[in-house]
């Protein structure tokens, strides 16, 4: 405590001086300055640099010493001999990464939000030990992506528990992480396992905000549980559901760490997603193609902007719908 006081007292003259020069209200600038500097350096400046990178080539790191190449990076990324055949594209890995990311996002978001919804509905019932059960589903959310991936890698490795189970049932073992179909399945499964609890929590908060008297009225009218769900719960939960869907989609499009540790993007490029493509192009390969990586991240940004706009649209539409009712 004394150390804290000493530390804070040390900064006192600085702020006194600031107050003399700036006046009382404008002293606020001094308080926000550290935050703004950090954001400026590591967020706003990088956005600008990213734009420069995307239209320049070469391997230099300094933006201004890179030769201007115009749209070449985008051409390299997007050009294909025949758009119906991915192998004719100049960067077929990029196309595969986009394809995988879209496929992953649809399946993962759909299944996860459905499961989160079911879980939230169950947790919202009159059950014993609700806090405990809520914690059960939430626990994996706190684990780091690396730990999550290792937990599952250990279960799924060729001599792991899953294959032991198969052998015990007299079936032949499966290479869960090196057969492309299974590897993709497990990336979806593991990321649902790791993130579902977060969305369950948001949906549960939404469910608990629905006025209880609506349900009492429904009970008076002898409404069936199914009718109560579709006519009261779902419509009133719609705003939360939209937030959850869009948040989940924004995260799914950026899937990287768990998959990177679990499968490394393989086998081949079966589980390579956009962020991993950016990471590999910019950092992991022999020649660091920053321009190409930056162009790819702009493509990713485009996806994200579309998703965010969709959220705004949907939220507004659903709010309008609420008012109209």
């Amino acid at each position: 405590m004394r150390f804290l006081a000493f530390f804070f007292n040390l900064l006192e003259p600085f702020f006194r001086f600031g107050q003399q020069r700036l006046g009382l209200q404008r002293l606020g600038w001094l308080f926000v300055a550290p935050n703004l500097i950090v954001f400026g350096l590591f967020c706003f400046l990088p956005i600008l640099i990213n734009l420069i990178y995307a239209v320049t080539g070469g391997v230099q790191l300094m933006p201004l010493s890179r030769p201007y190449t115009g749209a070449e990076n985008f051409q390299i990324l997007f050009e294909c001999g025949n758009y119906l055949d991915l192998s004719t594209c100049r960067k077929d890995v990029f196309w595969r990464a986009i394809f995988n990311t879209v496929k992953f996002s649809f399946i993962q978001v759909g299944l996860m939000v459905l499961l989160a919804m079911v879980t939230a509905l169950v947790l919202n019932r009159k059950i014993l030990g609700r806090g405990f059960w809520r914690g059960v589903f939430f626990y994996p959310v706190l684990l780091s992506p690396v730990v999550v991936a290792l937990i599952w890698k250990w279960l799924l490795q060729s001599q792991g528990a899953f294959n032991a189970g198969l052998v015990a049932l007299e079936m032949s073992p499966v290479q869960w992480l090196t057969e492309s179909g299974w590897a993709f399945f497990w990336t979806v499964f593991v990321s649902i396992w790791a993130h579902m609890g977060f969305y369950t929590l948001i949906l549960l908060a939404g469910l608990q905000a629905i006025p209880k008297d609506l349900y009492e009225a429904a009970e008076m009218d002898r409404a069936s549980p199914w009718r109560t769900l579709t006519r009261i719960t779902l419509p009133l939960l719609m705003p939360n559901l939209i937030v959850v869907l869009v948040l989940a989609a924004i995260r799914a499009v950026q899937v990287f760490d768990e998959v990177f540790v679990l499968t490394g993007g393989g086998p081949g490029s079966a589980t390579t997603f956009i962020v991993q493509f950016i990471y590999q192009t910019g950092f992991a390969e022999q020649i660091h193609l920053y321009g190409l990586a930056a162009a790819a991240s702009l493509a990713l940004a485009f996806f994200l902007i579309v998703l965010t706009l969709a959220q705004l649209r949907l939220t507004r539409a659903s709010e309008a719908g609420q008012k109209g009712r």
Binding site: M62, V136, L142
Partner: protein, 349 residues
Amino acid sequence: MGWMNFLLRTRGRQRLDWTDVLSYTYLVVGLFTMFAPVVWLVMSSFKTEAAIGQFPPTFMPYTQKTVVVAGHDKPLPLFTVTLDDGRKREMAQVQRMGIMATMVDPAAPEERVQVNIRQREPVNTLKFAWGNYTELFGKFTFGTYLWNSVFITVVATVLTLLFNSMAAFALSKYKFRGQKGVFFLIIATLMIPPTIILVPVFLVINHVGLLNSLWGVILPAVATPTGVFLLRQYMLTIPDELIEAARMDHASEWRIYWRIVLPLSAPALAVLAIFSVMWRWNDFLLPLIVLSKNEFFTLQLALNSFQGELNTQWHYLLAMTVITLLPVTLVFAFLQRYITTGIAGAGVK
């Protein structure tokens, strides 16, 4: 049957109907799916190197019993041998050649018996291989990784609390030109995912000379839109009269900030501290590009780099994973309520 009634009791109603049974079944299946993988990992981390290579694996960490036999330097593995006449004896194995093994009775080490290896079964005992954990500290500079992770987590969290509370104070208790714009800018950074500015962030960190430095991971992380938002909303509830009164008493603005507003914001600070600890401890992508030298690895990076090795030493890797998930699990066990309400309130992770 009193306990049965207690278990089946539900608030308001007397009996369980089929939907309750379905709900509890769902919850139990969920409990298994969420925790069984973690429990399996923890149990496996106590297996010896030999036990980890065994297939099919056992749940508990069994290991083969060994005995010290006179005339042999090393302890010998113990087997149950079924002799030709059908009797069973516990014997130690001296050596094995092809399908034949030379066994001795530990009680009578002179007498050697040749048996077919199919006639013998290892004698297993339950043994927790704590060595997986203790040996970590001698190997792979594990202590360094642990220290790096702890240092980044602690320093970044302290700075996060300081910087974000300062900004939140200015945004909630002052009125200056451009205040709304600043607030908007800070919140807007929520919209910019770190993945899309990866390359230029790397450039900036490189340019300010923080590549392969723990500060290169700490500094970009100390300003968080979530933290500013959370604290500002909380500070708005602190009455302005308190601050006016302090000004009457000629307290300086800095003093008002740290003697009045900070202590009153303790609950919000606690929530942010928990978040920050988890964010920094679990961080992967930023450390991955900033810290490329082995001696600066965090636990997450070390785990990632060891699991990629050709002959992964799973017994160490699993122990390391358990150590990595331990702090988060403890935080969760004791502070679950704060975390869940914090997330449900702010809608952020």
